[in-house]
């Protein structure tokens, strides 16, 4: 029996270099993953402007949250497709032609005298493409299907699910199965940032550098997952809960890892604060596991046959605070994972644990502010900090892998109606990671990446 994680232990320098490469790759994968779900097909169906459901699309307001929670139904007797023109086609397309500039302050460059150089790239580019088809198959049976392509046109299914709504004639029981976004009210799929560095929420995707270098399966709360969700909500969605059972493969199809299941729990409560607006507090927890050992056939690991499961957790609390046109989201997370996952060791001992290895843990904090000047103009700012609270290897610097990320930008919508959406989107973001760069046997150094992004974000 062999293990899949063949990297085991490496010299520190090579390990850190690999860390940088893999971390950058992971960041790239995250940042190029398809984005938000704002669906003009709904606006066309119900004759409502984008601003009815979106604070500023794609960010939902509570009316949009209720619509989503109710299975894309408004409850005005026009929800079932049978009441619509046969020509109505519930499809929308979203893409963002853009110009962007990316900088990484430390890159190993063969031609550089010191071997290290700051690299900047810039130019015109395309985002990925989202094809969003969604609606109702019948009254109280809803669906979403999102074939997505990266900027080269390579497709995958970002999201596909069918949901039975209002079971037993109550909004407290809805069942969904397929690949879907976890029940994150603070939704990364509906965020207002698009750049490579600032697009994804670090707090939803962070994994320790040692974990990344160990090659364990990437995982993110922000990634769409495969499974079954039971959720319920009050009529106005002020009170919400959800319980999801998910395959432990981070949403990858074909059951590539093992036969284990994860659980995601979420709940939130909103309350009115007079003229200030609707305030919401909530929490979530993800209890997952991943295999560390793979049986082989002819020397090759057998996909989906993983064994030696080890666990990881993500827990978070958040508040969404409205002060009229200014709203502030605050979030704190605590995260941990098994020392086996954090070091790439195998539970059967075929790759032994490093000496004194221990579980890894880290905390994350996020504050995102929006100022909605009017439904056609919003200002966005976000700061995230992630701090390792315990390295799996006690000899590593305590702040190795800590990150600080700052993003700010704005979205201006020249028009706002019920047929399509268009936003002019400038954004700047910068991300500093502690100790993720090493030149040869030199000391661990911090590295910084930044993105400047200007895009025409359109959906129709």
């Amino acid at each position: 029996m062999h293990t899949r994680n063949v990297r085991g232990r490496r010299p520190e320098a090579a390990r850190c270099a690999w860390s940088l490469v893999l971390f950058t790759l992971a960041l790239f994968l995250v940042s190029t993953s398809p984005r938000a779900q704002a669906i003009p097909a709904f606006a066309r169906k119900f004759g409502l402007p984008c601003s009815a459901c979106h604070e500023a699309w794609p960010k939902l307001n509570n009316f949009g949250q209720v619509f989503k929670d109710n299975g894309y139904q408004l409850g005005n007797d026009k929800d079932a497709p049978i009441f619509h023109e046969p020509a109505y086609w519930p499809v929308s397309f979203r893409m963002t032609p853009n110009w962007h500039r990316e900088n990484t302050d430390k890159v190993l460059v063969d031609q550089a005298a010191s071997g290290v150089q700051s690299i900047t790239t810039h130019g015109f580019d395309l985002s990925g493409l989202d094809i969003l088809t969604a609606g109702t198959l019948n009254k109280n049976i809803s669906f979403l299907m999102v074939p997505s392509a990266d900027s080269t046109g390579a497709f995958h299914f970002e999201s596909v699910w069918v949901r039975f709504d209002n079971l037993l004639k109550t909004s407290w029981l809805n069942v969904k199965m397929g690949k879907f976004e976890l029940d994150n009210v603070f939704s990364e799929k509906r965020n207002l940032t698009l750049s490579n560095t600032g697009g994804p929420y670090q707090i939803y995707h962070y994994q320790p550098l040692t974990d990344v270098s160990a090659g364990t399966t990437p995982f993110g709360i922000g990634d769409n997952q495969l499974g079954l969700e039971v959720m319920g909500h009050s009529k106005n969605s002020y009170t919400r809960y959800s319980v999801s059972v998910l395959s432990s493969n981070d949403g990858n199809v074909g059951l590539p890892t093992g036969n284990s299941y994860d659980v995601f729990l979420a709940a939130s409560q909103a309350f009115e604060a007079g003229g200030l607006g609707l305030q919401r507090v909530g929490g979530f927890a993800y209890l997952g596991q991943l295999p560390t050992v793979y049986p082989t056939s002819g020397g090759a690991p057998i996909p989906g046959a993983g064994q030696g499961y080890k666990g990881f957790q993500r827990e978070g609390i958040y508040g969404m605070w409205y002060l009229k046109r200014l709203d502030i989201t605050t979030m704190f997370t605590h995260n941990s994972e098994s020392k086996y996952l954090a070091t790439g060791a195998a539970a059967d001992g075929s790759i032994p644990l490093p000496d004194n290895a221990r579980d890894a843990s880290w905390n994350g904090a996020l504050i995102e502010t929006h100022f909605t000047v009017n439904p056609r103009w919003i200002l966005v700012n976000r700061y995230e900090a992630i701090r390792m609270s315990q390295q799996s290897d006690p000899t590593l610097p305590s702040n190795l892998g800590d990150i600080d990320a700052l993003t700010f930008g704005t979205r201006y919508y020249p028009f706002m109606h019920s047929r399509d959406g268009f936003a002019i989107h400038p954004e700047y973001s910068i991300l500093r990671t502690r100790g993720n760069f090493q030149n040869g046997a030199g000391p661990l150094q911090d590295s910084t990446t930044s993105s400047l992004f200007v895009g025409f974000d359109f959906i129709f």
Partner: protein, 296 residues
């Protein structure tokens, strides 16, 4: 000097009050809530402008594709009221309408919005017509306690359904297919369909609510801007409750006390002598009458 100072102070105070008056006039009150038109304007632009238009005249960009057409706030004619036909509704009526939405229309229920947002919207809606400055809402209809639901009440309601000629629009089976149905128009001359009771299920709603009290209110106040007249001056409250009980039996797929009573009676409504009849001086409103309360 002192007199001059006093005069200046009074003038200043008077000017301040004068300036404040328009703002006060644009306030709306429901319970402890106070709505402000300036706040409502922003919300209107977010949620309402697409259908009701920037001027509140129902000519939003979606209006051409919407049936029934969006309400024209400039004429201040409202369907769902607790006040007599032709009069302005109360703030509470408008507030309820925003929260409830309108069944069989594009107007969703907006109870996902905060109470403050809704009351602000009501305040802003009232700025579209000067009628709110000259008229006051009518007296709120008093709804007496509902009479017992029994087969006699249902049978009397059935008699009234014939006598008041409800069937001309709503059809004998309440399917909205009476002989006049195809000719009906609203106050903007747009075709309008009578309510189809027979399509009702457990979760279906009426235009202005779901409860028996709401049905009572609908035909006692009328649905202004539509051909549905007010029967407040035509029938007595007890008769109105009988009619409510009969109308519930037209919702054949709905689980209701009325349908239970009817089933218990063998599913047939007995013929009974009707003691009440419309006074000669106040004939029953004609089902094909002009829309009520419309101020084009």
């Amino acid at each position: 000097m002192s007199n001059k100072l006093n005069r200046a102070m009074w003038m200043s105070l008077s000017l301040s009050l004068l300036c404040a008056l328009p703002a006060l006039a644009q306030e709306t009150h429901v319970g402890k809530l106070t709505g402000h038109a300036d706040a409502g304007k922003k919300n209107y632009q977010r949620w309402c402008i697409g259908c009701h238009g920037p001027f509140g005249d129902g000519n939003g960009e979606n209006a051409p594709w919407i049936d029934p057409k969006p309400r024209d706030f400039t004429v201040a004619t409202f369907k769902c009221r607790s006040t007599p036909t032709g009069t302005l509704p109360t703030d509470q009526d408008l507030y309820n309408s925003v929260a409830r939405g309108f069944t069989n229309s594009n107007m969703p229920h907006w109870d996902a919005l905060t109470k403050q947002t809704r009351i602000d919207l009501v305040a802003y809606i009232k700025t579209f017509s000067d009628r709110w400055k000259t008229d006051k809402p009518g007296d709120v209809l008093k709804i007496p306690t509902e009479t017992p639901i029994n087969i006699q009440s249902i049978a009397h309601g059935a008699e009234l359904f014939q006598k008041l000629e409800c069937w001309k629009c709503h059809g004998q089976q309440g399917r909205g297919d009476g002989p006049s149905a195809s000719t009906l128009t609203d106050s903007k001359d747009n075709p309008i369909r009578p309510y189809n009771f027979a399509a009702g299920t457990d979760d279906s709603r009426f235009k202005c609510g779901t409860a028996n009290e709401d049905i009572y209110k609908i035909f006692m106040t009328g649905v202004d801007g539509t051909p549905m007249p007010s029967f407040n001056d035509v029938i007595q409250p007890n008769d109105a409750w009988d009619l409510v009980h009969y109308l519930r039996t037209l919702q054949v797929n709905r689980h209701s006390k009325e349908n239970e009573v009817l089933r218990a009676a063998g599913g047939k409504i007995p013929k009974i002598e009707t003691p009440a009849a419309p006074p000669a001086s106040q004939p029953a409103p004609q089902p094909d009458a002009k829309p009520q309360g419309g101020r084009k």
